[in-house]
């Protein structure tokens, strides 16, 4: 296999604490070395002068919609959107049709990804059969077939007893258990964050308490069971405070934040525009502040997009009828650079951590590092390239983004998977 030499970039590798100008050499699909003036006769050369070179970014929370909803996204189109967003590895949630609650579906996704995906795709298996919240699914088999975690994402496991059992299994199989935290009784019928804005617009609210109650219950169960428990798309001030507390107690508890939750608050929503409708909803500013604080303080392990494609026909309806979710793979780095780094909330090194060693620590994919011998996955990005997001040019099959038309300073430049450039600007 050919070699790829990435020259002259500022190499940031949180795993080794590296932040220096250097070359990165990839041979036979794995990292061969990082250092000054590396030579490899005949290697393809990518000039990363003025750019940041980092381990391949990991998005541990995406929806690829295949099998079952291929009109919204496929493993192939979703992986292309990932590559265009600077991600080399993505973990896909099990809410497909059928739900990925079996070895058969897990194997199908792994096989489709092997044939068609341009980035690494890691399936997440369902906690319960059909994600119905009742009967635990075949976790051991799915793990053997390639599942890297379990989650009923999109739905919470409402029954505490079932969740306890699932955590016991998760611990036994040593997989993280990822919860979409929402008390469905409290949130029922809600379309946006419950607060001044929902009251003003006459839309039914999803109270922050619906998330907080589930997080608190699960943290208690995590303590009881010792499971590696992860809160998906955390969005409230109380929830991040509780996770911080649990971590301080030494529990193996982690959480992720989406770019839209750190970039936007409910007051930024265009009125009744379903491109701003997702779960959890865009919260009020104090919650957004809480999340930003948690990102800076280290409570949050990962930035994850919750990329959730929906076709235009489903999003072109009355707000209350539209499905929840927005696409996010292609805008994640731009938003992180803008709202976190340029805004002075976190350092560039911390940002890279949130896309690499952070999600790696949760998912244990054996990636997120530029150590010699690691998979040759590299993300090259710029902090000053100016570009405008045109959702109609998206690699995704769907167009549901609130960031269409937005101008960015900084974004992905090249996405390298196993030593091959899969996307470049």
């Amino acid at each position: 296999m050919a070699a790829l030499l990435i020259r002259n970039g500022r190499v940031i590798d949180p795993a080794s604490g590296t932040d220096t100008t250097a070359d990165v050499l990839i041979e036979d699909g794995v990292i061969a070395g990082v250092g000054p003036d590396l030579r490899s006769p005949g290697a393809e050369v990518y000039d990363a002068g003025g750019m940041i070179v980092a381990p391949g970014f990991i998005d541990m929370h995406v929806h690829l919609r295949e099998p079952g909803f291929e009109h919204a996204e496929t493993i192939e189109s979703g992986s292309r959107a990932a590559a265009a967003g600077g991600f080399t590895s993505i973990c896909c949630m099990p809410n497909t049709k059928p739900v990925n609650d079996s070895v058969t579906v897990t194997s199908y996704i792994v096989e489709q990804a092997r044939k068609k995906a341009v980035v690494n795709v890691f399936p997440i298996g369902a906690i319960t059969k059909g994600s119905a919240g009742e009967e635990i699914s075949a976790i051991g088999g799915m793990k053997a077939a390639g599942a890297v975690a379990i989650s009923d994402d999109g739905l919470p496991v409402m029954n505490a007893r079932v969740m306890r059992r699932a955590m016991e299994f998760a611990r036994a199989y040593d997989v993280p258990i990822i919860q979409h935290c929402e008390d469905l009784n409290l949130s029922a019928g809600g379309d946006m964050h419950e607060g001044a804005q929902s009251v003003r617009w006459g839309l039914r609210g999803i109270p922050a308490a619906s998330e907080d109650i589930m997080v608190s219950r699960d943290l208690i169960l995590a303590q009881l069971t010792g499971a590696r428990y992860h809160v998906a798309h955390i969005s409230t001030a109380n929830s991040v405070a509780m996770v911080a507390f649990a971590r301080k107690q030494g529990l193996p508890v982690t959480c992720e934040v989406t770019p839209h939750h750190f970039a936007l608050a409910d007051q930024d929503m265009a009125p009744y525009d379903s491109n701003f409708k997702m779960k959890p909803p865009l919260r009020s500013s104090p919650h957004r502040e809480g999340v930003l604080y948690a990102l800076a303080r280290g409570t949050v392990s990962a930035i994850a997009t919750d990329h959730a494609p929906h076709p235009g026909s489903e999003k072109m309806q009355e707000f209350e009828r539209c499905p929840f979710g927005i696409i996010g793979l292609e805008t994640a780095i731009g938003l992180a650079l803008d709202h976190l780094v340029a805004a002075g909330r976190i350092t560039l090194q911390r940002m890279v951590e949130l896309f690499t060693t952070g999600p790696e620590s949760v998912m244990r994919l054996g990636r997120g590092t530029l150590a010699a011998g690691a998979p040759g996955d590299v993300t090259v990005f710029s902090t000053d390239v100016e570009w405008t997001y045109d959702v109609n040019q998206s690699a995704s099959r769907s167009r549901n983004s609130p960031f269409d038309g937005r101008s960015f300073r900084g974004g992905p430049m090249a996405t390298i998977v196993s030593g091959e450039i899969r996307w470049k600007r």
């Binding site: 009251v199 039914r204 009125p271 009744y272």
Partner: protein, 302 residues
């Protein structure tokens, strides 16, 4: 976006005053024997009602006709809506017939706002979900002005299911523009605390007596059972705690007026005696509805 009328919140005080002033000009016409103008002759207005409505739809229809426009009314049942056509497709079809305005009522908050972004035709909101009902607030303001001569400084009590009331929201925005003192009153479960931030001058209370004390205007709201997704308040107790009774009126200013957007439920929101009370202006509201809607149609199309 074409200039329609989506809500009171988008209007400034001057725009509201202009409509109210114009409505005053149309008022005498309502009792003339010859009631028709030709201001909007040749114009076409479509009334598209996705929710049951008698008075608002009729009022818009009459207003259009008195201005010389043609009006077509469509109700959701018996139209393509029941055949599964999406809202956007229905509206696109109607827009292709080139009406000059679409008057629309819909059960979903924001439905007209969503459509206004995608359609070339001006949209007049005749009530969207639990959000706004701008022409109701305008006719209420016209009615208050007729009796009180001003809005500024008045104490207005709005009582009932505030959470689900588009009438309350539009009235709050309008009255606040003129510096009225607004007291919102209802059962705690139908009175979210955030309502206080809706506009300046708003206070909340769960006690009907506190709300009515020294009020210049008492605005009762209909109990909207169809919008309550859970039992927010025991229906059997509603009248006892939040029904307006003759005795309550002693707490208000001696010349206080009683309003209701209709349709009234005697014995639920207000006692029969209050409905027929001499200072009840419920029928004046209905009459002003036509004058105000004429002013709105003229502004949007004329």
């Amino acid at each position: 976006m074409p200039e329609g009328l989506l809500g009171i919140e988008e209007l400034d005080r001057g725009q509201i005053e202009a409509i109210l002033q114009r409505a005053k000009h149309f008022q005498p016409m309502q009792s003339q024997s010859l009631k028709k103008l030709d201001t909007l002759r040749g114009k076409m207005i479509v009334n598209l009602f996705y929710e049951a409505s008698t008075r608002t739809r009729t009022s818009f229809e009459i207003a259009a006709k008195r201005l010389g426009a043609d009006a077509v009314s469509i109700t959701a049942s018996g139209s393509s809506v029941t055949k599964g056509e999406s809202l956007v497709d229905t509206l696109n079809t109607l827009a292709a017939m080139r009406p000059d305005a679409i008057v629309m009522r819909h059960a979903a908050s924001g439905a007209p706002h969503f459509l206004a972004r995608h359609l070339p035709t001006p949209i007049i909101n005749a009530g969207d979900g639990t959000h706004e009902h701008p022409t109701q607030a305008l006719l209420d303001a016209r009615t208050i002005l007729d009796r009180k001569g001003k809005l500024t400084g008045l104490r207005v009590a709005i009582i009932g299911d505030i959470a689900h009331s588009r009438v309350a929201r539009s009235n709050v925005h309008l009255l606040a523009r003129f510096g009225a003192e607004i007291v919102l009153c209802g059962p705690a479960s139908l009175l979210p605390a955030e309502l206080q931030h809706l506009a300046p001058g708003v206070t909340l209370t769960t006690d009907i007596r506190t709300a009515i004390r020294n009020a210049d205007v008492i605005m009762m709201l209909r109990v909207q059972l169809e919008r309550q997704h859970e039992a927010a308040f025991p229906a059997s107790e509603y009248f006892r705690f939040y029904g307006l009774q003759l005795g309550h009126l002693d707490l208000a200013k001696p010349d206080a007026i009683v309003m209701h957007p209709g349709p009234i439920n005697r014995g639920r929101e207000l006692s029969s005696e209050v409905a027929d009370f001499q200072r009840s202006v419920i029928l004046n509201q209905v009459e002003n509805g036509i004058a105000v809607r004429m002013a709105v149609l003229e502004k949007v199309i004329g």
